[in-house]
């Protein structure tokens, strides 16, 4: 969908040769530190910004050439955007709903529209806030409304830029749930986020940007196994006990011994082999502290690496 995208603001290159393809029906995450080009990528893909080079196709439509056609297919929730303070929730939904009815073939009767609005309000837990002014909504409610507006016209693809920033944990869980619902209803989701747990929980695939470049792209599980540095195991053994020969453990990457504490890192069948080796050595009842690598480790490793280059 996005090929070799490049965009510079003056002399600052924001996006430098980013490629990725999002499959229909998927939740695709775009991760990266501040200033890595995530938002620029999304805004170019939506046709809000002119690209300097590269090719973008959304369901076969070039958003740079036909921004209005692309807009009919895409819903978007932007970072740092808001609504007029005194606009009421239902008025916002009505107004943004009107925008989707510009295209021919859009059929909505007044009653059908009212039902849709009610459904959306219910779905997003905003039914009680129907008549509340935007300014009086809590951070979570505002964010839910903005995401609801992105989805109100049932787009085939939706871009959500830092959807859960500023939400409390419960509101984030709710938002995740609605994103999953939207996907089940057939909408493809592109999620820009800072939160690794969000990406791990929701995304089928993610890409990591750093300084305008794509540094990795895969499923969260495969990224973790490739870049996560493996499972880390720590345990205490008495000083005088002879330890097995670690070098024969399959998948071992690192081994350290600090006084009585042993720390090992490895992947693949490393963990089961370690268990067997310890049992053979008569250390079967050792307490092992096992840590799985998390997406956060992958992310930090990838973005640090990119910065060092």
């Amino acid at each position: 969908m996005v090929e070799d995208l490049r965009k510079a603001y003056g002399t600052v290159v924001a996006v430098n040769g980013v490629d990725f393809t999002v499959a229909e029906g998927e939740i695709f995450g775009i991760l990266g530190p501040n200033g890595s080009g995530k938002t620029t990528t999304v805004e170019c893909a939506y046709g809000l910004r002119k690209t300097d080079a590269g090719r973008i196709r959304i369901f076969g439509v070039d958003p740079q050439e036909q921004p209005d056609r692309a807009a009919e297919l895409i819903g978007i929730q932007l970072q740092d955007s808001a609504l007029p303070d005194r606009l009421k929730t239902w008025e916002a939904l009505r107004l943004f709903g009107e925008l989707g009815r510009r295209s021919p073939g859009a059929t909505a009767t007044a009653s059908g529209r009212a039902t849709n609005e009610r459904d959306v309000l219910e779905q997003w837990g905003l039914a009680e806030k129907r008549n509340a002014a935007f300014a009086s909504l809590s951070g979570g409610q505002r964010q839910r409304l903005l995401v609801a507006l992105a989805l109100v016209n049932r787009p085939r693809l939706v871009f959500l830029d830092e959807m859960t920033t500023g939400l409390d944990p419960a509101a984030r869980r709710d938002a995740w749930h609605v994103i999953q619902q939207a996907r089940q209803a057939g909408t493809t989701v592109v999620l820009v986020t800072h939160f690794m747990d969000e990406a791990e929980e929701l995304c089928d695939r993610i890409c990591v940007l750093s300084q305008g470049r794509l540094v990795a792209q895969d499923t969260p599980a495969r990224l973790i196994s490739t870049y996560g540095g493996g499972i880390r195991v720590r345990f205490d053994v008495p000083d005088d006990v002879a330890l097995p020969d670690w070098d024969r453990l399959p998948g071992l990457r690192e081994a350290h011994r600090l006084k009585t504490t042993v720390e090992l890192r490895g992947s693949g069948s490393f963990l089961t082999a370690l268990g067997a080796a310890l049992t053979t050595a008569g250390l079967g009842d050792t307490d092992l502290s096992v840590e799985q690598p998390r997406l956060e480790d992958v992310y930090l490793r990838l973005t640090n690496q990119a910065e060092e280059i």
Binding site: S81, A82, P84, D85, R94, F96, E98, L99, R102, L146
Partner: protein, 249 residues
Amino acid sequence: MPVTVALSWTELKLFLREPVTVVFTLALPPLVLYVLAEVFGNTPDPQGHVYRGVGAMDYYTPAYIALIIGSFGLIGLPVHVASYRERGVLRRFQAARMPVRAIVVSQLAVLFAAVTAGAVIVVTLAKVTYHVAWPVAWPGVLLAVLVGALAFAAIGVLLGAALPTARAAQGLGVLLWFLMLMVSGGGPPPEVLGGALREVATFTPLKHLIVAVQDPWLGRGINWAELGIVAAILAVAGALAVPTLRKRT
């Protein structure tokens, strides 16, 4: 309902929910007018020196219609545009592919609705209390109001686009409003102002708009020179406003 109508209707409701703008466009002009009327009455000065030779109320009524336009262009619109810009509402509209036409038309709809409502209040008050005369030449008055409203719309968008925040826009707008009210003939009669203040007045758009509305109202024909100045202000402010807003959205 087409988007333009939907947005205009929404904007009209938002205007009515914005107390500062409503006060300055709909409440203050008739209030100040009433106070001035109670002080100066409506008997023309026998020597014909002040109030351009007519009664104070005959002088002030058309001037206050111009002032309502000024209120909207100096306070209402700049605050609205600056807060839309500041809060990312314009970005949100742009992202939703809200047609630019719908945004422009909706703001003009609110402007003309507000000016019409304000003018009806001012004229009704003047009619009921001092039996002020109807305009002698309606077309001239309507033309001046139309050109003046567009000129102040351009000024309002320019201020709203150029000023950093909505609060700054409100502060500067209120200041400009009082300045123009006082020196442009909306407060003391222009004849009693000193030379320096009259100089200042010639640089305020409101001064020219007031005369452009007054002349046809009082039966002195359309003042093409003043109307031309107002149209020039429209052209210059409009030419500056569009790129400024585009750059700062």
